[in-house]
């Protein structure tokens, strides 16, 4: 992968004390993709034109509009890649929530907020899965290795789902941190994984942990979320209430575990 999602441009590169030079540079592709649900246009997403079907499925699951792959009768990506057409049995109440209360989140997202006061708050993920520190550091190393697309453009977010065996993983990248999560979860569902499997998984993300990330993890039943970046206060409150182990600033063999520490097998020093 890589090339189809790269756009070549000529850029003026300027460094202090040197003459400006024009040079070849690579930018990541960004497309407007339309999502059609049961013959009606639901919304459009600005995203990397890849894994469009997984993206749509992941989005609908994270909004509670569908609850599993079984709800889907048909899914088709248009030949030009710019629209996805899905037919499914849907939860009409969740769908009506979707655009009911318009909230621009800190990631500036309206779409994922349908469940702010919906299902998410009433769910508590009581998964007893655990993650050893060894597995955490090993997989962080994998996750920290730049993808070819990121190496060329510096402009993508990535999400990686570590599977129950703690060896295999699925990965997706996108311009948007929300999109990357939806894509990797959709990819997992398309590969046949179900909610019960996700309860043993760990989600690694590059983006900051704001509230909507915790909502997504809860809706997808993933109990452990690890980010390279910071977490907001509301995200930690929500993770506490919904049983998510939230880990931030995970980089260079360090991390901060904010909630539900018991899932992380670490030797601890007592507070006293």
């Amino acid at each position: 992968m890589g090339d189809p999602f790269l756009q070549k441009v000529f850029t003026q590169h300027i460094a202090k004390g040197k003459k400006a030079v024009f040079c070849e540079d690579f930018l990541v592709s960004e497309e407007r993709i339309a999502f059609y649900l049961n013959q009606q246009k639901l919304l459009s997403v600005m995203s990397l034109p890849e894994l469009q079907d997984a993206h749509f499925i992941g989005f609908l699951l994270s909004e509670g509009v569908i609850s599993s792959l079984k709800d889907i009768q048909k899914i088709e990506i248009a030949k030009d890649g710019k629209s996805v057409h899905l037919e499914a049995d849907i939860d009409k109440k969740s769908l009506s929530h979707l655009f009911h209360e318009k909230t621009l989140t800190s990631g500036c997202c309206v779409g994922v907020t349908g469940n702010f006061e919906g299902k998410m708050v009433t769910q508590f993920l009581d998964s007893s899965t655990q993650l050893t520190l060894e597995d955490l550091w090993d997989n962080l190393k994998v996750f920290e290795t730049p993808t070819p697309l990121f190496a060329k453009t510096g402009c993508t977010h990535r999400a990686m789902l570590l599977l129950p065996n703690r060896k295999d993983f699925l990965s997706a990248e996108d311009i948007g941190r929300h999109n990357a999560i939806d894509k990797v979860m959709g990819k997992a569902v398309l590969s046949g994984m179900e909610a019960e499997d996700f309860r043993e998984c760990v989600l690694f993300v590059t983006g900051r942990l704001s509230l909507e990330m915790v909502i997504k993890a809860t809706m997808h039943h993933v109990p452990i979320v690890v980010s390279k970046a910071a977490a907001t206060h509301l995200a930690i409150n929500a993770a506490q209430k919904s049983g998510i182990t939230l880990i931030g600033f995970a980089r260079k063999e360090q991390c901060n575990c904010y909630t539900h520490h018991a899932r992380l097998i670490a030797e601890t020093e007592s507070l006293a």
Copy 2:
């Protein structure tokens, strides 16, 4: 500033090969703020509860719903800081665009997309303002200095508007990169600045330059946008069409200038 926007938590800090310790940590406050326009709830934003009035004004300007401070009859932040009530003469067409086509952008934003195919495309900013490299490097140094809130939390975006004299600036920070821009532009408008002034300004941002950033700059008449981060392909296309000088990866006395280079006074080497 700083303290009212910090939330203290106890965090488990883990580093490879060491015992995990619980320590005091600071997180940035995140609140849901409701925006009321002419007695009707317009939308809510998840943001840092500061400069709520500037935020709302900046947002309405960037959407074309109002065109200057003169359109506003009254603005009031509720005592608890959780809602802003604004009365204004509005452009009903721009308002109806606001939620007409639901597009989750790469920053995952629906709100700013009302003008995707609206005013933005038909505007061309032909400002002849320029920026010397000396001013660029000097102000980048200021911009790169962490704010107290960022230093404590690592969780805020910042926007800084460099004024025509190239010495003074206005600054705002928020959890969201879109919010930070709206806040700083609203602050500038509240300080009495108008579109004509903005045509001589430079906007520095910490977030990536996706399409909606270029739309915001265009709607606010700011001809030069400088980011520490990458730009997407669509952002560069839009900047080309709307006359915005787009500068990315501006850090450590280097940058890439993608469009309308003439505004940046740099000695160049010829391509030949």
